[in-house]
Amino acid sequence: MTDLGNHVVIAPILVPLLTGTLLVLLRGSATPLRRTISMLGIQLLLAASLWLLLQVADGDLLVYQLGSWAAPYGIVLVADRLSAAMVMVTSVLALFAMMHAIQGSDRRGRQYHVLFQFLLMGLNGAFLTGDLFNLFVFFEILLIASYGMLLHGGGAARSKAGLHYVVVNLVGSSLFLFAVGTLYGVLGTLNMADLALRVAALPPEEVGLVRAAALLLFVVFALKAALVPLHLWLPGAYSAAGPASVALFAIMTKVGGYSILRVYSLIFGAEAGPLANLVEPWLLVLGLLTIVVGTIGVLASRNLALLVAHLVVISSGSILTAFGLGSQAALSAGLYYSFQSALVTAALFMLTENVARTRGAFADQLRAGPMLPAANLLGGLFLVLALAVAGVPPLSGFIGKVLIIQASLDTPAIAWIMAIVLSTSLLTLMALARAGSTLFFKTDTNAGAATLPNAANLVPVAAVAVISLLYVVFASPIYSYTEAAAAQLLSPADYIEAVLDGETLAGGETRLDSETTSDGMPPDSGGHD
Amino acid sequence: MLNLALAVGFLLVTVAVLLSLWRLIIGPDQPDRILALDTLYVNTVALLVLLDIKLASSLYFEAALLIALFGFVGTVALAKFLTRGDIIE
C-alpha cells in the first residue's frame, strides 16, 4: 500500500477536489482560464479513472486506507469492478458535459465550474467509499453541489424546482442518518464490510431493528434513484435545470442505484441470514411501476426537457428492475443498461438545449415552431438518441433491454417484465416519434426564423450517439466486464476479506490485533453514572 | 454538605429555568420573550457551573463560556430585529 501507484484509488476524488479548490481560489478569474482548468481537471480525472479501471479489471479489489487506519476503524476506499466502472462513466459523462458547457452555457451563472468539480468529487466519492457514514458525507457533497448546479442560471422555475429538490433531499438525508444511526447503535460499526460480517452473525432479537434500518436506508437510496413513488422530485428538478448542469445529473440517479446494489449485495446479500435479499421483492415491483409511471410522464410531457427527465425515470426503473431480479445475469444486464442510459439521457438533455436555443421563443415546447435550418442534423441526432433510449435496435438501449428480459426468462416475473418493458418501449417510441416529428418536421409558418445551432455544441451529443453504437458493437467485452462486476458483487466474501484483512500499515492495526486490544475494554464502554 | 448544597442548588436553578420558560411561553410581548430567553441562557450557565462542581470536572467550562457569549449575541440579534428589522446592515 505504500506504493504510490495505489493512490489511484483516491485520485478520482482528489482531482476534482483540487481542481474545484483551485477554481475557488481563482475567484473572479477570466472565463477562458476557468474553462481550461476545469477541462484539464476532467481530463486528468479521465486518465485516473481509466487507470483505475485497468487496475481492477482483472478482479483485484483495491483497498485504500485513509490515514493508514485499517478498516473497520478508519475509512477505506474500495475500488472493485463496479465502482471503477461507475467512476469511469462519470468521467466520460463529465467530459461531454463540460464540452457542452464551455460552449457558453457555463456563463449563465457564476461558479459553474466549481460546482461541477465538486459534484464530480461527490459522485466519485460515493462510488468508491467503503464506509456507510462516509457515503452519507459524499451524498451530501454531491447533493449540495447539485443544488447549486440546478439553480445555475437562475429564474423562477429553477427556484421552485430547486426548493422542492432541496427540501425533499434534506428529509432524505435525515432518514439516512436515522438509518445509519440505528445500524451503528445495533451493530457498532460503520464499515460496510464489517457491517456485513456483523449482520451475518446477528442475534434474532436484533433482526427487527436492523431490518427497519435497512429498509429505511432503502427509502433513502430509492429517493436518490427516483424509484416510484419517490421519484416525484425528479421531473421538476431535471426539467428546470439547465442542460449544462443536468447532463451531469444523468448519473445522479445512478448513485442511488449503485448504493442499493452495493449495500444490499454486500451487507444484506445472500449471506445475511434472515435479512438476506431484503429489498429484491420491493425493487422488482417498484422498478416495474417506475417504468410505467415514467412512461406516463413521457407521454404527458409538453416539453422536451420534461420528456427526457421522465426518460431518466424510466431508465432508473429498468435498472432497478434488473437489480431486483438479483441473479448475476440480471445484475450484469442492469449495469450494462445503466452505463449507456446515463450517457444517452445526458446527451438528450444537451440536445434539448441546442434545439431550444435554435427555436427561440418556442424553446423545447412540443408544438410546431419555426422551420429549423438544421433539422436534418438535429433531427438525426435526436433520432439516434431516441432509438437508443427507447430500446430500439441497433443502439445500446436495445441490447440493454434484451439483456434484462433475457435475465428474467426463467423467473416467475417474466410475464410482467416482458409485458411492461416491451409495451413501455413502444409507448416511449411513440411519444418520441411524436415529439421528434413535431420539433423537426412540423413547422408553423408564423413562427419566425430559427437560428443555426452551434456545431461545436453538438459534438458531445454526436459523440454519445457514436458511443451508443459502439456500445453495441463492443457489447460482448462490455458485458463480460459487467458480468464479472456482478459476479464480484455476488461474492461479498472477497470484498469483506480484502477490506478487513488488509496489510498491516504504519500506524494502522490489523483486525486481529485490534480485537485483542478491544477485548480489554468492556463491551459497553460508555460508563454509567 | 457540598452534595446537599448542590442538590438544593440544582433544585433552585431548575425551578428558575422553569419559571423563565413560563415567561417565555406566556410572553406577552416580543421583548418579554427575548428577556425570558436571555434569562434562560444565563440559567443554563448556572446549571453548567453546578454540573461542573458536581462532576468535579472543568470540562464543561467552555460550554458555559460559549452560552454566555452566544446568549448575549442572540439577545442582541433578536432585539435588533425588533427595532431595525435588518440586523446586519
Binding site: 457514514f133 458525507v137 451530501e140 449540495i144 443544488y147 439553480l151 437562475g154 429564474g155 423562477a156 429553477r158 427556484s159 421552485k160 430547486g162 426548493l163 422542492h164 432541496v166 427540501v167 434534506l170 428529509v171 438525508s173 435525515s174 442518518l177 436515522f178 445509519v180 444511526g181 440505528t182 451503528y184 447503535g185 460503520l190 468492556p522 459497553d524 464502554s525 460508555g526 460508563g527 454509567h528 453514572d529 | 462532576l55 470536572s57 470540562l59
Partner: protein
C-alpha cells in the same frame, strides 16, 4: 433517562414533520431544523447514554462515552448547518423569483 431521550427524539421528529408539511418556506425551514435536531440527538444517543464520562482520556478513568457517534454528529451538525443555510437563502431566492413564499410558488 432512555425514555426521556426517546420521547424527546419522537417529539422533535413529530414537530419537525408537522412544520415540514406547512405551505410556506419559513415554517418548512423551521421544520428542517427541528428534524435535524432530532436526527442529531438520535445519532448521538446511538452510542448509548453515559453521564460525566466524556471521551477525553484521563489517567485514572476507565469509563468513557462512545466517542464515535459524537464525531458523526459533529459532522452531521456541520453538514446540516450548510444545508440549512442553503435552503434559507434558496427560500429568499424563491421569494424574489416567485413573488411569494409558498413552497410551490403560488398562493393557494
Amino acid at each position: 433517562m432512555e425514555a426521556l431521550i426517546a420521547l424527546s427524539v419522537g417529539l422533535l421528529t413529530a414537530c419537525g414533520i408537522y412544520l415540514l408539511l406547512r405551505g410556506r418556506t419559513f415554517p418548512v425551514v423551521l421544520g428542517i431544523t427541528l428534524l435535524s435536531y432530532a436526527v442529531n440527538l438520535f445519532l448521538f444517543v446511538m452510542g448509548r447514554l453515559s453521564i460525566g464520562v466524556p471521551a477525553i482520556l484521563e489517567p485514572n478513568r476507565a469509563d468513557y462515552a462512545d466517542p464515535l457517534p459524537q464525531a458523526l454528529v459533529l459532522t452531521a451538525i456541520v453538514i446540516g448547518f450548510g444545508m440549512t443555510a442553503f435552503v434559507v437563502v434558496l427560500a429568499l431566492r424563491a421569494r424574489a423569483d416567485l413573488g411569494n413564499d409558498h413552497v410551490d410558488g403560488r398562493e393557494p
